[in-house]
């Protein structure tokens, strides 16, 4: 007789402004090729990269036979923000990615952060990406700029470095664990 094992899935959402490095972040850690819904960019104002996510990115990390972690990346462009609420349903926590070298996106990052907080009061973390570049604003300055509360972590990140991505995810999980330990079921 065959036994069917039920597999539990949990979800972390990676959000942030256009070109913050969300797709790269997921690609760096996912065990499968990221299912990316990218399209060529046609608008001149958005042509700082060739392609952008229009629906979502989807990565996976198998934890064991019974547990899978999914990583969902949201589209960064404003006109696809109808996808955000759908993607945020049931998330364990979320990562707000920000391109530390582009102050023109900081206001948008704050808007996204506020929007996601309003969807679901789950733990989150801010990943200050591209910290390897010379013009990167320090993570602690971004905390002030984004008005991140003192209890929330702002972590330096380089989205194409595996160890850096691991650290961001681990810090988010530690925050979740703290909350689980702090509150009775």
């Amino acid at each position: 007789m065959l036994h069917q094992t039920s597999v539990q899935t949990v979800k972390i959402v990676v959000t942030g402004p256009f070109s913050a490095g969300k797709t790269e972040f997921i690609q760096t850690i996912s065990e499968i090729d990221v299912v990316a819904t990218e399209r060529r960019i046609t608008r001149a104002s958005e042509r700082i990269k060739d392609q952008t996510t229009v629906a979502m990115d989807f990565g996976r990390i198998t934890i064991d036979d019974e547990l899978i972690l999914y990583l969902f990346g949201t589209p960064g462009q404003k006109r696809f923000d109808f996808m955000w609420e759908i993607l945020s349903e049931g998330m364990l926590g979320f990562v707000v990615m920000i391109d530390s070298t582009r102050p023109e996106t900081f206001r948008e990052a704050r808007r996204i952060l506020d929007t996601f907080r309003s969807y679901s009061p789950v733990p989150y973390i801010v990943a200050a990406n591209k910290q390897d570049l010379p013009d990167a604003w320090p993570a602690e300055d971004l905390r002030i700029v984004l008005r991140v509360e003192p209890g929330i972590k702002v972590v330096s990140c380089v989205a194409n470095e595996r160890e850096s991505v691991k650290e961001v995810l681990l810090e988010l999980l530690y925050s979740i664990l703290e909350l689980v330990d702090a509150e009775p079921v």
Binding site: I29, P103, V185
Partner: protein
């Protein structure tokens, strides 16, 4: 590490807010559409300012303040060629021509005048150099930025910026837990005090405006100033408000004050699941 950007994206108010809250030391170089200036800071306080085309030497500053005539300034320069502002001030003070406090007051007023001019710049570039303080020989002062930010914002007219910064007026405010300067040391006007008196996590910004008969531009200007000066923080309202009458701060009891931030919800997973995730990601 220099902070660089465009004033269109990150305005003077936000820059001063960052320098204030991060207690930064260094020089902020500004390039407006056709003007240039730099502002010097030590541990988050404004100590000096220079604007291209404005003579910042002490004799010139004192002439603009009406202390000296152009002829007197010429004589000072002739008698003390190549002397720094500090040297000139020392001579003026020891000779009894001016008191130290008066010199400092005039320098301070000169710096503030320049800074408020710069506040209207909303185009151009900026660069903050943490290692640089080009103030050798100059008379520096120490000006708390909260007041500068508040006054600068009173002069602000950019409706679009205010709307971007405060898109939702159905949000509440609370006092910052650790303001860098106590509220009593901030120069607030009557309207600002009226808003302050209704800051309470139960009152939305919109309600505070309605109660004080303020229009959207007025309330946005005041709240933006208070936010950027680091005096208040935004939070979601404690609970949906039903009446149009906000609770005044004076009448709100201690237990009515909720937690500072919206409470995070415990995730609907067991501790063991989170521990498994942590273990697995560590192994990757």
């Amino acid at each position: 590490m220099a902070l660089k950007g465009k004033l269109e994206d990150f305005g003077i108010t936000q820059l001063l807010n960052l320098i204030n809250l991060a207690r930064k030391s260094g020089t902020l170089y500004l390039e407006g559409s056709d003007e240039e200036a730099y502002l010097c800071f030590r541990e988050g306080k404004l100590i000096y300012a220079v604007k291209a085309g404005v003579d910042d030497s002490l004799p010139a500053v004192l002439q603009r303040a009406g202390v000296f005539t152009p002829e007197q300034v010429r004589m000072i320069r002739d008698n003390m060629p190549g002397k720094s502002d500090q040297d000139i001030a020392r001579v003026l003070i020891t000779s009894g021509r001016l008191k130290q406090q008066a010199v400092l007051r005039h320098v301070r007023e000169h710096i503030l005048t320049l800074v408020y001019q710069v506040f209207s710049w909303n185009r151009g570039g900026f660069r903050f150099e943490p290692a640089e303080l080009p103030v050798q020989g100059k008379i520096t002062t120490s000006i708390a930025l909260e007041n500068v930010i508040m006054e600068g914002n009173r002069r602000l007219k950019e409706w679009e910026l205010l709307r971007d910064e405060l898109p939702d007026l159905n949000i509440a405010l609370k006092f910052a837990e650790r303001p860098t300067t106590p509220l009593r040391d901030i120069n607030l006007n009557v309207e600002e005090w009226r808003v302050i008196s209704f800051i309470n996590p139960r009152n939305t910004i919109l309600q505070i405006a309605q109660y004080n008969n303020m229009d959207e531009l007025q309330i946005r200007k005041i709240v933006y100033g208070l936010l950027q000066a680091g005096l208040v923080e935004m939070i979601r309202p404690a609970r949906p408000t039903v009446s149009g009458t906000p609770t005044s701060r004076a009448t709100a009891s201690a237990e009515e004050m909720p937690a500072t931030a919206p409470q995070m919800r415990r995730p609907a997973v067991k501790r063991g699941i989170i521990q498994k995730l942590i273990r697995r990601i560590r192994e990757l």
